[in-house]
Symmetry: C2
Subunit: 152 residues, 2 copies
DNA sequence: AACTAAAACTGAAAATTTTTCCTTTATGAC
DNA sequence: GTCATAAAGGAAAAATTTTCAGTTTTAGTT
């Protein structure tokens, strides 16, 4: 699909606050409520808007510790790759897993309570997955920026 | 604040789909609509729920290229740190910036159109920021898992 | 320039949801 | 048992979403 300037603005607004009413959006965009409604539905139907979610502040739910883990597989057999990706996806502590270029195969973003919980996660969950060759972890000292808003 | 099992379930539900009506949530939780409403308001007021956002599929807005950039500052003077963090925060292509332990000072998640756009981003924006010592980029080959839902 | 079809817009009405208000229930302290 | 507090439920009110019918705009064709 194709976006005009209004769609772009609308996506920006919704990426920052999806609880705005169509009336508020219609004011911001100088459109009628119905026009806003229809544009949003179109963006949803075309899969541009994927889902709507509540973002939880991790400190408030006692998950303040964030780490990035690099992982290398022992061998790059397809079977191993598929199994690793499946198992890592099932770990709720792993918010993100990306297959990347470079020295390591994957980078994971892991969220847990504290360093001790991270140790447990590594020992009991992550390294229990088969075919992991080596890992290298980096700990987040402070979160400088974190947004879900894709530039549009 | 303190969470009971219902709050936890509620947060899980809202982290996965914030567009569910209170009636749907009340069914899932075996509660009245009002009770759900009040629990949500409490979670919002206590800052547990930070915001509600629309998640956009990056492929649909022509931002399919994701890279992680490691950055080392030339010197760790506070002034340099503050300035770097401020400037990097203003770059819309940078969705995340974390100050981390390890060989590098920061890790960034960058979203752009393609490799060519990434090159431009590096040359014209990122390395224009003062006090950057060195960088090292890793490109995402495939996104194995990506969620905003913190385990609760 | 006039015509047509499609897309986008508008305002009003209908349907649904959110929010308020008041009553009831459960829990723990005295 | 009584009181105080917190959580829950139901019903009504307020607000929002969604539908609908009709109009305007746009783009392409003749």
């Amino acid at each position: 699909m194709t976006f005009d300037a209004i769609d772009q603005k609308l996506l920006q607004l919704l990426q920052n606050d999806s609880k705005q009413t169509n009336k508020e959006l219609s004011n911001a965009l100088n459109l009628s409520v119905t026009a806003v409604f229809e544009r949003i539905k179109k963006l949803e139907n075309n899969g541009v808007i994927n889902k709507y979610v509540a973002l939880v502040k991790k400190e408030k739910v006692d998950k303040s510790f964030v780490a990035f883990c690099h992982i290398k597989l022992s061998q790059h057999i397809q079977e191993y790759v598929v199994q690793f990706e499946k198992e890592v996806t099932n770990l709720t502590e792993v918010l993100e897993c990306h297959h990347i270029s470079g020295d390591y195969d994957y980078i994971l973003k892991v969220v847990v309570k504290d360093m001790e919980a991270f140790r447990e996660f590594m020992v009991e969950k992550l390294t229990n997955i088969n075919h992991i060759g080596s890992t290298h972890s980096m700990f987040v000292i402070s979160e400088v920026k974190s947004t879900t808003a894709i530039p549009i």
